[in-house]
Symmetry: C2
Subunit: 457 residues, 2 copies
């Protein structure tokens, strides 16, 4: 990376931080205005900002400390590099979300205008209530709630539906949080085997249901299936699975951790009883955040309100939802989701372009002899698994830096996010990269391969 | 509030937002550097920042839009006003936390260097692992985990300890999230009555335990008691209660939502088996965040790791903790807690000064004839409940703006956070205000009272 770019980026951070110092002066002062000492402090702080800004454009001057504060380094990966990390791509904040959290970082910042009945999803200002309605619409479901991560959405469903020992159908590529959600509710997972293309078919789901029925004498209580899995980013047959669910009368949780927020999701059409999405994975929001949407029918159960009464005080908190533990995302997590939402809606409509870039990237990567794409082809997602055992790993075998040679070479070219040191099987995600960034990244891999004498076809 | 102050504050936000636009240019560009068009865009964006900065100091020029983005207004309450909101005071971010979330806002931002065994509390960079150790030490407990709000800490404990129908001792001033935590785990609350000073004594707890024993034939399975409650901010006899817990052998969850992060908390000395704190309420952190700390003995149970095995794949995710659903706060929530922590530790040591300010404020407020402090006196906390039925409410009765007259008058003087429209019983919190801000706020109440002919003694 060229030095002046790095300096510019670090100085941009420095200027942002210096402006936070300006802001702090207001926080410590009286509303009547700054006193003499504060006014001087204010002028000095502003002069500092100006000095930094002046240094940004020419990229000259001293490189800033690179620290946020004691012990925490500035995280400038998204500015310094092209990041192909498999799970970070679609959780990157939009500029709107970044601005929103500057303004709404403080603890209970979204609660200024919370009025009766005192529940997060009823707040009108900022537009939390409207956002909840739009969110349900966006997913073609009846009701939606925000939750602290997709996992907490799974948990709300499993804890509402399962009795101890109940069986739950999951994919053989189910994310570990699905396992945990079943376990925390006292249930037991039963995995659907994959077909030869590492995909879950409706037929395999039906077979597994029959097996559970034969084994236990009753049907599984719930099915949780990922539309795209976290390993291969393969598309699984969710529409067919939705039909199987209907046929057997088993509630179906659609895991959209890798779809909600990046591609169109129509929960009703899919036949989902529950749609779960991840804010920090796919909706450009601060972690932990996510969404749980459902139908009118199930909302009553999963979003049931408290019935507990205090035996001494007779207190009841009737509007609070048990599985959500009352309010869920009361600050920057929620506001980042809301601020990103218009852009998130727009980008889901442009999903085909993202998939096209993903395919273009992998086509190029595959030109390196011995490189294999382990995910289904053509790609239907931007998250992919590749095997470079017969290409980059042959270099790693004799390189003094072992597998890290690839990370070194990539980093030198401004690319990060591959699993450092891994040269056999690893994952990447091209989501949200510009066309130029995709071409540049692909070109960098080819250049590195060539430099080490690997054959390019 | 004077207009130029407002303009300055809004322009500070505008400059922060404009710098985010600068930052975005880097995110969209190649690591090799900006091309011609981007370089022009960059110059223009910087010129915009400079222009805003130039306008800040003189406070002149046009007032910015006051919008973060479409539909979301700038939240500048903490700069514009003195905020006496009962629950927001200690969740206000420190400057370090604000800087940290600028840098770590993106979804999985804390996970760049996550390596085996792939669990949040094991991450070395940023220093998440070290923070977890310090957090346990800070509370004098053996083990600590971050959780998405104190409520999720309660839930982890109740779900680990309770069987369906088990009884849990709570205070008659228990927060609703404690009710929910018991309900979600299938338990039943039993409230300890308050004494004449609205306090929970050790004796009353012991009596209630005996009552439950007589009623059900067995001891309650858990006790959850707030050190300071959310209604009066009264101190309850937690040390004595800790002893009662030990005597009966009932696990004791110390609810430190209003203590952890503002005053010293020594869990071992209190006799707590579990210490729960709130990040967004008392640790200057982004919501939802909190902490659950416990002893070695209980850690094994509450932080038990998954035992679920996939029947087809034989997959196990052995290191993931069931009740935490794996990783908890993977981004700005956690980093804001970590960044605030040094200042949070320092401020807990200065708790006496905060209490002194609280008492000073209420002494002044009480000079308004008819005003009563409903919380215990002298105050031992900064959260207090007051009754102005015989003072401000007598004005509201005939004022055309009703109770809102007080909000109007306060706002005009730069004070917010009282419950708008309430002139009878309401709560306030002076935490974190400077000495001058406390005096100014108290003086404003007196001035308003005088203006309406209320007697000052």
């Amino acid at each position: 990376m060229n030095v002046s770019r790095r300096t510019r980026i670090q100085k941009t951070y420095e200027a942002l931080f210096a402006l936070e110092d300006v802001r702090e002066i207001f926080r410590r002062s009286l509303p009547t205005g700054l006193d003499g000492g504060e006014e001087r402090e204010f002028s000095e702080a502003l002069a500092r900002v100006r000095g930094i800004i002046d240094g940004i454009e020419d990229g000259g001057g001293e490189l800033p400390s690179g620290r946020v504060c004691d012990g925490i380094e500035v995280r400038s990966r998204e500015e310094d590099y092209i990041n192909i990390n498999p799970i970070q791509a679609a959780g990157r904040l939009t500029p709107e979300a970044r601005k929103a959290i500057i303004s709404y970082g403080d603890g209970y910042s979204t609660c200024d205008h919370c009025r009766k009945p005192f529940r997060l999803d009823k707040i009108g200002r900022p537009p939390v209530e409207a956002f909840h309605r739009e969110l349900a619409e966006f997913l073609s479901m009846d009701v939606a709630r925000v939750v602290p991560g997709a996992r907490r959405g799974f948990q709300a469903v499993t804890q509402s539906l399962l009795e101890k020992g109940d069986f739950v159908i999951v994919s053989s590529l189910a994310h570990y949080t699905e396992f945990l959600a079943v376990e925390v509710a006292g249930g037991v997972v039963r995995e659907v085997p994959l077909d030869e293309d590492n995909k879950v078919t409706a037929e395999a789901v039906a077979e597994k249901i029959e097996k559970v029925k034969a084994e236990t004498g009753s049907l599984p209580r719930l099915m949780m299936i990922d539309h795209f899995d976290y390993q291969f980013g393969n598309e699984h047959e969710v529409r067919g699975i939705g039909k199987v669910a209907k046929d057997y009368g088993i509630p179906f949780l659609y895991n959209g951790a890798y779809t909600v927020g990046v591609m169109p999701v129509d929960g009703k059409e899919i036949g989902a009883d529950f749609v779960v999405g991840s804010g920090h994975k796919s909706m450009a929001a601060v972690a932990p955040s996510g969404v749980l949407a459902t139908t009118e029918e199930w909302a009553e159960r999963v979003f049931r309100t408290t019935e507990m009464t205090g035996d001494v005080t007779n207190r009841r908190f009737g509007i609070k939802e048990v599985e959500n533990m009352g309010c869920t995302l009361m600050g920057a997590t929620l506001i980042s989701m809301i601020a990103s939402f218009p852009r998130v809606k727009a980008r889901t409509a442009a999903w085909d372009e993202e998939v096209a870039k993903s395919n273009r990237f992998l086509r190029e990567l595959s030109r390196i002899d011995g490189t294999r794409v382990l995910s289904e082809l053509p790609r239907r997602h931007t998250l992919s698994k590749v095997d470079t055992t017969d290409s980059f790993d042959t270099v790693a075998k004799t390189h003094k830096r072992r597998g890290y040679f690839l990370s070194d070479e990539l980093k030198e070219r401004g690319i990060i996010g591959e699993f450092a040191g891994a040269t056999r099987v690893w994952k990447l995600n091209t989501y949200g990269l510009t066309s130029d960034q995709v071409d540049y990244a692909a070109g960098s891999f080819l250049e590195i391969a060539e430099g080490y004498g690997l054959k390019i076809s």
